[in-house]
């Protein structure tokens, strides 16, 4: 199996207010098409780990590989490009640009990547919305749709550049069980049908149980 994401000896310290060793020697891999979840108690460092893996947090020790390419120590511009092209994000809070329409929100990362024409991007965006069954709200403003819809729009946005991995920070944390199941099914489908890797931080035991693999964390270490 091809390795998509690999972390080697990741250590992270918080220096304020007092020196605190958050992540202690983290080693793990995510393979292609794998649906992994990270679980652990609050404060065990799972979100911190996710933001390091996402390339947004660069203040750590150790090496991080994406598609067997070393990412640690790259220029900020290059990291932005990697996030844009290879990584899709879904957050607990929906984080859409509220002044733009749903369609524009979904199109934005692709416009930034600028590998396709606007017409193609729009076609792809509508396609993604259709897969997620929210095609009908494409023209609405992002601030005018419901929470469940927002989360699906965020997923569509994460998918627009056909990334190699999708990362989620409690993507269902704010949703009721029905919407939560909905999001899980979408993720499951993506990993099975399109061979997409997924790495999701969650508190929801039911959600985690249904994933391929659970990475349990405690006190800054991977327990299993």
């Amino acid at each position: 199996m091809k390795t998509i994401l690999e972390a080697r000896n990741i250590n992270k310290y918080f220096r304020k207010p007092v020196l605190f060793h958050v992540l202690k020697d983290i080693n793990f891999k995510v393979n292609q098409g794998e649906f992994a979840s990270i679980m652990g108690k609050s404060g065990c460092g799972k979100s911190t780990l996710l933001y390091i893996l996402s390339t947004m947090d660069t203040g750590y020790e150790g090496d991080l590989y994406l598609n067997t390419e070393l990412i640690t120590g790259q220029e900020n511009e290059k990291l932005s490009y990697i996030r844009n092209k290879h990584i899709g994000f879904v957050f607990q809070f929906h984080y859409l640009l509220s002044e733009f329409s749903v369609l524009e929100n979904v199109m934005l990362p692709a416009k930034k990547l600028a590998e396709k024409s606007i017409e193609e991007i729009e076609y792809n965006a509508i396609e993604k919305l259709r897969i997620l069954n929210i095609e009908h709200i494409a023209k609405k403003r992002a601030s005018q749709i419901s929470g469940g819809e927002k989360q699906r729009v965020a997923i569509a946005r994460a998918l627009i550049n056909n990334p190699t991995i999708i990362m989620g920070d409690e993507p269902t944390g704010n949703l009721d069980s029905q919407n939560s199941d909905n999001v899980f099914n979408i993720f499951k489908q993506l990993s099975e049908e399109q061979g997409l890797s997924l790495l999701v931080v969650t508190h929801d035991q039911d959600f985690a149980d249904k994933t391929d693999r659970i990475i349990q964390m405690g006190d800054g270490r991977i327990i299993n």
Partner: protein
């Protein structure tokens, strides 16, 4: 390029959805630029008018025979006193004539110089205006009227009658408005003038002259060169002054020096004669720019403030944009372009408002006894003011946008996303 378009589109959406804030910021610039344009057009217009008032009728070089003592007294020349200290008391001016020797050939010579627009003769003479038993002191200047009109805008100062009428009448006089008022005279009347020697001549008033400077209007009158020569009983080559107008005023100083050396006459250039006007102009310009810059700085702080607030409001958006692959530079560009759009829109509006306001001022009636040629407030519409104003708007908004946008560039998305 596509990237820039996407970023500009985001900037535009932010501005449009926060239209009130945008408008407030832009209005700050509009107000600043508008008042700059109004102020500078009005002030320089006024400056120009005041300068013209004096400079237009002043020759660039004025050539005459100065009455002064000899620089070298005879004792200095005597070889036996060479190594002694000579003190001469009560030195008197040298006995010399008022007329310029060989004036007509000098005028011809000057007129051939390519730098010279025109050199014209004048005869200045002190006379008395006689009204019954009262004698009023005054100056009568003999002029070549048509050339004066052409070179020194003389026509502007003839408030009644016409320069042509003087040309056509050998016994005509253009009487100073102040003199005419004192003596209750008007066009068509006769005035008697007496020379210092006591000869009395009647002259016909063909027009009234008003320079706007009361001290001059109360004494000065003009007649043809020939008329004055006849009154004085002098020949046709009797000329006391030569006035020179140049194509380029900057040539005045070197040419004046050259004439002094070449003809041993006194030649005063316009810069020496009117140095205080340049100083006044410079100081008024300084005040204009100081006020304008203050206004623009205030507008700049307005923009700075509003962009800062916008960035605080848009923290989430900035974090999302960074998370989905926009770099710090892209984010900075969003806020910079917002500042520049505000600057460009506000600045253009300011130019329009400034144009309108200065036009309005320029159409207000402004009539004063002192300035016969002016009927409305003077306005100077120099295109440079508009170019400077617009550049200033862009530069100040650039500076005002730079710091906040730099902050936006540095925002750590992780902190924002985790902070909620």
């Amino acid at each position: 390029m596509v990237n820039k378009k996407v970023i500009l589109n985001i900037a535009k959406t932010h501005l449009v959805t926060k239209i009130k804030q945008t408008a407030t910021a832009a209005l700050g610039v509009t107000f600043g630029i508008g008042s700059y344009i109004t102020l500078v057009c009005f002030m320089t217009g006024l400056n120009g008018m005041l300068d013209d008032l004096i400079l237009n009728q002043t020759p660039h070089i004025h050539i005459f025979n100065e009455i002064e003592p000899s620089k070298k007294q005879p004792t200095d020349l005597y070889f036996e006193f060479q190594n002694t200290l000579n003190i001469v008391h009560s030195i008197k001016p040298k006995q010399s004539q008022k007329r310029i020797h060989n004036a007509l050939p000098i005028i011809n010579y000057l007129n051939k110089d390519p730098k010279v627009k025109g050199a014209i003769p004048q005869i200045k003479e002190q006379i008395f205006y006689i009204a019954g038993s009262i004698e009023l002191g005054g100056n009568l200047t003999g002029i070549d009227i048509l050339q004066e009109v052409e070179l020194f805008n003389f026509k502007d100062y003839v408030v009644k009658g016409s320069p042509q009428a003087l040309k056509n009448n050998d016994n005509g006089i253009l009487l100073g408005a102040g003199v005419a008022e004192k003596m209750s005279l008007d066009i068509g009347d006769r005035v008697q003038v007496s020379t210092i020697k006591g000869d009395v001549f009647p002259l016909k008033i063909v027009g009234l002259y008003q320079s706007g400077i009361a001290d001059i209007d109360n004494i000065q009158s003009f007649a043809n060169v020939k008329t004055v020569q006849r009154i004085l009983g002098q020949a046709e080559n009797y000329i006391t002054d030569i006035n020179v107008k140049l194509f380029n005023i900057e040539d005045a100083i070197p040419l004046a020096q050259k004439i002094e050396q070449q003809f041993q006459l006194k030649a005063i250039d316009i810069k020496t004669a009117n140095a205080q006007f340049e100083t006044g102009t410079t100081i008024r310009n300084l005040i204009t720019y100081a006020v304008s810059i203050t206004l623009l700085i205030v507008a700049g702080f307005g923009i700075y403030n509003i962009l800062n607030m916008m960035i605080y409001e848009k923290m989430n958006d900035i974090a999302i944009l960074k998370a989905i692959g926009f770099s710090g530079k892209d984010v900075q560009f969003i806020f910079m372009s917002q500042a520049m759009i505000i600057g460009a829109v506000g600045g253009s509006l300011g130019l329009l408002i400034g144009f309108g306001l200065s036009h309005l001022i320029g159409s207000l009636p402004f009539e004063t006894e002192a300035l016969p040629t002016i009927s409305t407030y003077p306005i100077n519409h120099n295109p440079w003011f508009y170019i400077i104003g617009f550049s200033f708007a862009m530069i100040s908004t650039f500076l005002a946008g730079y710091l906040p946008s730099k902050k936006a560039k540095k925002i750590d998305p992780v902190r924002i996303i985790r902070g909620q």
